[in-house]
């Protein structure tokens, strides 16, 4: 036979952002730590090796921060002019940076003075990177050239002069030591192969390219420039896969999350957007105080570091998980009690009797099932329920009304209990979605407690409050009706093409008003 059917809880659509696993994941960060740098933070780079320090390039300095430190643990400040693009090698022991004067300097993490200086660029070097074999450095400069340097003997190996404007971004392949990509203000992204001394693929982005990113597999390329973020399929010879326009100012930086499932883009519009790399839909978005120039994620997405134009570095750490077992855990039955009899093989003459599975019921449902109506109402009038989930309280009141026992449940309450009910009414009566149910409940309360009014000052005060609320609501509704009337006049004077399609007015207010007055 049919079991007990739990009371139907009316659900309401949650306004605002939908809660998905992505919003949960990306919101699970602590409040950001803000560090003031000397100038605009143009580049943040995490060391790929533990302890995952990060290098911050701002003005003429490179600061290296520890994971949780707010003070730099090391500073490279031997630049005559602005430094650019401090990047760690894969093993985390070397750091390369370009500078405004056209020099490229290689540092040891432990040392202070540069190990190598690559001279050859005539203008500012905005992008440098290590190739996959660790022994070469790629650099792009404002003199339209891209150069490949050998670290051991600090010599220039190759020069590519294919770009026709500033080269402002670049990225070396993680797999192939000979491949790297550069983006330029001439609106192109070019992939170079060190074995052929010319570009192998060139794609037209359409805007000055601010940032490029090769996916770990090397088959996809993301390029950012203008308001656009474009994904290219390199295995198909640079075919455009998607073009995304989700920012309303120039996109300045790109980063891939550690799982490779999400792509992050920072922009001058002060937003960081998170995209899914399967559907290329925005799944989450962060807001920052200033225009964003650089962005980096630590290993396992533990930290998000964002550098902004006003020189502020925002560092967000992931909340540490599982602090729950601080409570002394109750001793549970041993494992063998749970598996007891589970491995028993059914004999031929045995009859299997299944224990009927017990359905979990909420506490109020258990009370309702046993017709303890007052208790069920008490349960949902607990402060934890009324504040967090008023819709449950309202649904139970509605259910009691449907069963015809609402008056029984509301009757026979003392001062404390009735004031709890009245508090709930005062808070929620004016909400249109709860109003029909609560007005009915309020009427019943007034009917029941009218003879005893004047005995308790607390309850009387609540009743006066409720009265004031209702009066205010009536005034409000009248105003709304007046507005509606004015709008109707306006609509009536307008010439309409069709007499049939009428705008839907919000007549809820009108209905509600009538109820109030009655």
């Amino acid at each position: 036979m049919a079991g007990y059917k739990p009371a139907a809880i009316q659900t309401y659509p949650v306004l605002g952002e939908k809660i998905t696993q992505d919003t949960l994941y990306w919101n699970n960060y602590k409040t950001p730590v803000q560090i003031k740098e000397f100038g605009a933070v143009s580049k943040v780079d995490f060391s790929p090796q533990p302890p995952y320090n990060y290098a911050v390039t701002a003005s003429s300095r490179i600061h290296i921060y520890g994971r949780y430190s707010q003070e730099p643990i090391k500073t490279f400040s031997r630049f005559k002019d602005t430094a650019y693009c401090a990047t760690f090698r894969q093993d985390g022991r070397l750091l390369v940076a370009g500078s405004e004067d056209g020099g490229v300097q290689l540092f040891d993490i432990s040392g202070r003075a540069p190990l190598r200086q690559f001279e050859g660029h005539t203008k500012a070097v905005h992008t440098v990177d290590f190739t996959a074999d660790k022994y070469h450095v790629v650099s792009g400069a404002d003199d339209y050239t891209v150069k490949l340097w050998d670290i051991p003997n600090s010599k220039e190996i190759l020069t590519f002069k294919e770009h026709s404007d500033y080269v402002r971004c670049g990225c070396a392949s993680k797999l192939n030591p000979d491949l790297f990509v550069t983006g330029s203000y001439d609106h192109t992204v070019k992939m170079f192969d060190a074995r052929t001394n010319k570009s192998v693929i060139s794609v037209e982005h359409g805007q000055p390219v601010e940032s490029v990113l090769l996916f770990p597999s090397g088959s996809l390329l993301a390029s950012a420039g203008g308001r656009y973020l474009k994904i290219w399929d390199m295995l198909k010879g640079g075919q455009l896969l998607v073009s995304l326009k989700n920012h309303h100012k120039t996109v300045t930086c790109l980063y891939l999350s550690s799982s490779g499932q999400r792509l992050l883009s920072g922009s001058l519009d002060r937003k960081v957007k998170v995209y899914s790399t399967t559907s290329y839909k925005v799944v989450h978005s962060f807001d920052y105080a200033a225009s964003i120039l650089s962005l980096a994620l630590a290993h396992e997405d533990e930290t998000i570091v964002v550098g902004m134009t006003n020189g502020i570095l925002s560092v967000k750490h992931r909340k540490s998980e599982a602090k729950k077992d601080s409570l002394p855990r109750r001793r549970r039955p041993a494992y063998r009690t749970f598996i007891k009899g589970k491995n028993y093989m059914k004999q031929r003459d045995d009859i299997l009797i299944n224990r009927p599975s017990k359905k979990h019921l909420e506490l109020y449902d258990r009370d309702l099932k046993n017709f303890r109506v007052s208790k069920a109402l008490d349960r949902v009038l607990e402060p934890s329920c009324t504040i967090k989930t008023p819709e449950i309280t309202v649904s139970i009141i509605k259910e009691l009304n449907r069963r015809g026992v609402l008056a029984n449940a509301l009757a026979g309450r003392d001062e404390k209990e009735i004031s709890r009910v009245l508090n709930f009414l005062i808070r929620n009566l004016s909400q249109p979605r709860f109003a029909p149910v609560l007005i009915n409940a309020a009427e019943i309360i007034i009917d029941i407690y009218l003879p005893v009014i004047g005995q308790s000052p607390v309850v009387d005060k609540k009743f006066l409050l409720l009265q004031g609320l209702v009066e205010k609501e009536i005034d409000y509704q009248r105003e709304l009706l007046e507005t509606l009337g004015m709008m109707d006049m306006l609509f009536a004077t307008m010439t309409r093409k069709e007499s049939t399609s009428v705008l839907q007015h919000t007549s809820d207010g009108f209905l509600e008003n009538k109820k109030m007055e009655s």
Binding site: K5, A8, K281, I351, R403, G404, N440, V502, S518
Partner: protein, 831 residues
């Protein structure tokens, strides 16, 4: 070819199973219940209907086992006859004509040749209990005219009469009286509840009575929920009674168990209460039986109970209060709001069922398929409660979507309205809730229809409401990267001068939507939702609206409240014809152009079948029902009939079913629909299908063993065809290990040949034997004498035949087989 009989209105299944107490057979294997003019025999184990005993010409009002022969069943009916049936074969044995309307039937073991019936002779409200002597004559139809009055002024319901203590007395209750008639003393004592008149609100009217089977104890149920146990009532003064009180509402029925140790009671709470030793403290419950318990009965063997419920179902309950089987008929709710629909997938009739449910009812099998819980809330069975009503439902053309509307209105201004959309899930083979829309309209929804054209890949639903709007709902893709989902959203809201929208209808190809606003019909383009044209006849509000189909798709039909049927031509936008007809039901046939309309007049309801293209009806049947016809539907036939007569051709492809105000489901047919019911084969009931219960393991094995013995005994007598055991050569062959035998292909043909009969015997005797075998199977259930007879005949036939075979084999084949054996056996014996 179907003989051209006249089409007549027939009742088609769905009759009340809960009209009277169900009766168990002596071995609890079958359960009998009344079902309209028939008695149905169900198996208690499989719930299947085994037989339908048909022969009464009016409602069957009582059934009882023949106390002298427990393989026979008495039934009585309003047609004034008592019939005696052999229920195992479903044969009518005898008919006794009494001549009065019989309201109930009782039998007693001690009164061998008479039964008791309730008759009202003079006044309409005065019922009497009579004893009827059944004359012993061999003719199949006899008159039973010997009536003896037993008790006067009793209640017509058989619940209010009970025989007690092995037939020593009979107790009957009515209003505030309990009358007991003692057969030996031939006296009547009457007990009146003293408090009945003093208190105003004491509702202690008697409702039912039951008598203890062994002791002098009568249990009576009362309107206020009390059960009184009466003792010492043979003395008029010294009687005592005790009270048992658990029910909060009327006690609907009472029954003592066979031994009398426990009393069962039930009522509106739909809880079966078992009172052990007739004490207040020892009681057990079986709750949640779904609907009001109307009747309780106990099997003579004592192992089963059954309860009949107001929602037309019978629940068979084990002795340990565990429901074991449910026999469910068509649920007859008091108000059918949804009308009759056909589920396109199962071709089942769909209508309101249990409160808050839609029932799917198979017309072919007269069986409920399943209930779909729409409202999904606990049903509180209480007086004066305003329940949530399921008011509208609609299927789309392929049965993928179901839309339902439910409402509850407590006061004028407080309307709760909810629309639910259900998607058919192929995996679970059922409907799953997809979208729930709260308050889809401001006021009552008057009509609901899906766009049925299949070319529309996007399902579209239109709702019309009293708030003056009609809304178009479409299915939209709601999926994101996390999950795939579809949901329904409102696409368009239309209105026409703030008139109430009363009806809506899509044309066959889905290109046009007709919505009627009170007196005006508006036509909308379903692509752009533009108003195309309006029709207005000023002849009252439009009650029904439908488009013509197939060749008549350019016509639109509308029936108004003032009794005008209009047909508009959509091409010329003009009235084609109109007729004066008060139409209650207008249904288009999905397989043809025909439209059936049922009109209501003072004399009764008339049926008109017509094509929209011409105002002259194809077929008219006057007076199809005396009552008002509420709903009708065309059900497409699986196999088209071929009526050659022009008047009946409209019945070729579909059948028209309609529901009257008293909830009887009727149809048109040239033959009884019961003939077409798929007969449940007897094999279904065979012992093999019995569930393996603990009893089976104890008794079943024993029985199997016995059966085997019997079989062996039979074999020795009858000598059946495969006689391998009797031929030593073959048995040796079969018992020799396989690895020492020659290859099977070598042996096969000879072995098979050895089993064949020789040519001489084949011609005549084999055929004869086959016939005998069949006969034996059939006669198994017959009376003993007959069986003896057949067995004897078989004996004489078969013994010589069997000898013949043995003879044949031993001569021709044994040698061959021996040869192989000799070859191989030598080394085996050494081992």
């Amino acid at each position: 070819m179907v003989a051209e009989e006249s089409v007549r209105v027939v009742r088609c299944g769905g009759s009340e199973l809960n009209f009277r107490r169900a009766v168990f057979s002596a071995d609890s294997k079958y359960i009998f219940c009344v079902s309209g003019d028939f008695v149905k025999v169900h198996s208690t184990a499989t719930e299947e209907c085994v037989h339908i005993l048909q022969g009464h010409r009016n409602l069957v009002t009582g059934i009882q086992l023949n106390p002298n022969n427990h393989l026979q069943l008495y039934s009585c009916s309003f047609d004034g006859t008592i019939k005696l049936w052999d229920y195992i074969d479903g044969i009518l044995i005898k008919t006794f004509t009494v001549g009065h309307k019989l309201h109930a039937l009782f039998t007693l073991a001690c009164a061998e040749d008479s039964v008791f019936v309730i008759i009202n002779k003079e006044k309409p409200d005065v019922f009497q209990l009579f004893s009827v002597k059944l004359p012993k004559s061999s003719s199949r139809e006899t008159e039973a005219k010997e009536l003896y009055l037993v008790l006067d002024y009793i209640n017509q319901s058989p619940k209010c009469v009970a025989f007690g203590n092995e037939g020593e007395y009979v107790a009957a209750v009515r209003d505030f009286y309990l009358s007991v008639y003692f057969f030996k003393k031939k006296t009547t004592s009457r007990f009146t509840l003293s408090s009945s008149k003093n208190k105003k609100h004491a509702k202690n009217n008697f409702t039912c009575v039951a008598c203890h089977p062994k002791e002098d104890c009568i249990a009576t149920g009362h309107k206020d929920g009390k059960i009184r146990l009466w003792r010492n009532f043979d003395d008029g003064k010294k009687y005592t009674y005790t009270c048992l009180h658990w029910h909060h509402d009327m006690v609907m029925d009472l029954a003592f168990s066979v031994t009398g140790t426990s009393l069962l009671s039930g009522g509106r709470e739909s809880v079966l209460v078992e009172w052990r030793d007739a004490t207040e403290k020892k009681k057990e419950f079986l709750p949640r039986l779904g609907a009001t318990i109307e009747h309780i009965s106990v099997s003579p063997a004592g192992d089963l109970f059954c309860t009949s419920h107001s929602d037309n179902k019978i629940i068979i309950i084990h002795r340990n209060l565990e429901a074991s089987a449910v026999i469910q008929g068509l649920v007859k709710d008091s108000n059918i709001f949804t009308g009759l629909m056909i589920d396109p997938r199962t071709k089942a009739l769909v209508l309101n069922g249990k409160p808050g449910h839609l029932q799917f009812y198979s017309l072919q099998h007269d069986k409920q398929l399943y209930n779909l819980d729409i409202i999904q809330q606990e049903y509180i069975n209480d007086d004066g409660l305003i329940q949530i009503e399921l008011t509208k439902a609609a299927f789309d053309c392929c049965g993928n979507w179901l839309a339902t509307v439910e409402q509850r209105q407590e006061k004028e201004t407080e309307l709760e309205l909810q629309m639910k959309l259900w998607m058919y899930n192929k995996k679970t083979q059922g409907f799953v809730l997809n979208t729930k829309i709260n308050m889809p309209h401001e006021d009552h929804i008057t009509a609901l229809c899906f766009c049925n054209a299949e070319k529309f890949e996007n399902p579209t639903l239109v709702t019309a409401s009293k708030d003056g709007h009609f809304k178009v709902w479409i299915l939209t893709d709601d999926s994101d990267i996390y999950k795939k989902a579809v949901g329904w959203t409102c696409d368009f809201v239309g209105s026409y001068h703030k008139y109430q929208a009363t009806n809506c209808c899509f044309s066959e190809d889905g290109s046009l939507l007709a919505v009627s606003f009170e007196e005006i019909v508006t036509i909308w383009d379903s692509e752009t939702w533009e108003l195309k044209c309006t029709f207005c006849q000023r002849a009252g509000n439009i009650r029904h609206l439908c488009f013509g189909r197939l060749t008549c798709s350019k016509y639109l039909l509308g029936a108004t409240e003032n009794g005008i049927l209009c047909c508009w031509n959509l091409l010329s936008c003009a009235l084609e014809w109109s007729a004066k007809l008060t139409i209650r039901v207008m249904e288009p046939d999905p397989r043809s152009e025909n439209i059936a309309a049922v009109s209501q007049s003072s004399a009764g309801s008339d049926l008109f079948v017509f094509k929209p293209s011409e105002p002259r009806p194809l077929y008219i049947q006057k007076n199809i029902s005396r009552e008002e016809v509420q709903w009708g539907v065309f059900v497409p036939r699986d196999v088209p009939e071929s009526f050659t007569s022009e008047a009946y051709q409209w019945l070729n492809r579909s059948q028209f079913y309609f529901l009257t105000k008293s909830q009887s489901l009727l149809t048109f047919s040239t033959k009884s629909p019961e003939e077409k019911l798929t007969p449940t084969s007897k094999q279904l009931l065979a012992e093999e299908s019995l569930p393996t219960t603990p009893f089976y393991f104890i008794l079943g094995k024993h029985r199997q063993h016995q059966d085997k013995k019997i079989n062996e005994a039979l074999e020795s007598e009858l000598v059946q065809l495969p006689l391998t055991e009797n031929i030593p050569a073959i048995s040796e062959l079969l018992h020799t290990p396989a690895h020492v035998l020659p290859s099977a292909s070598f042996l096969c043909s000879k072995f098979v040949n050895s089993l064949l009969l020789s040519k001489e015997t084949k011609s005549g005797e084999e055929i004869l034997e086959d016939v005998d075998m069949e006969e034996e199977k059939e006669s198994g259930d017959d009376s003993d004498e007959e069986r003896d007879f057949t067995e004897k005949t078989q004996d004489t036939n078969d013994t010589d035949l069997g000898e013949d075979i043995i003879h044949q084999l031993s001569k021709s084949e044994e040698k061959e087989l021996r040869k192989f054996r000799k070859v191989d056996y030598s080394w085996i014996t050494v081992l």
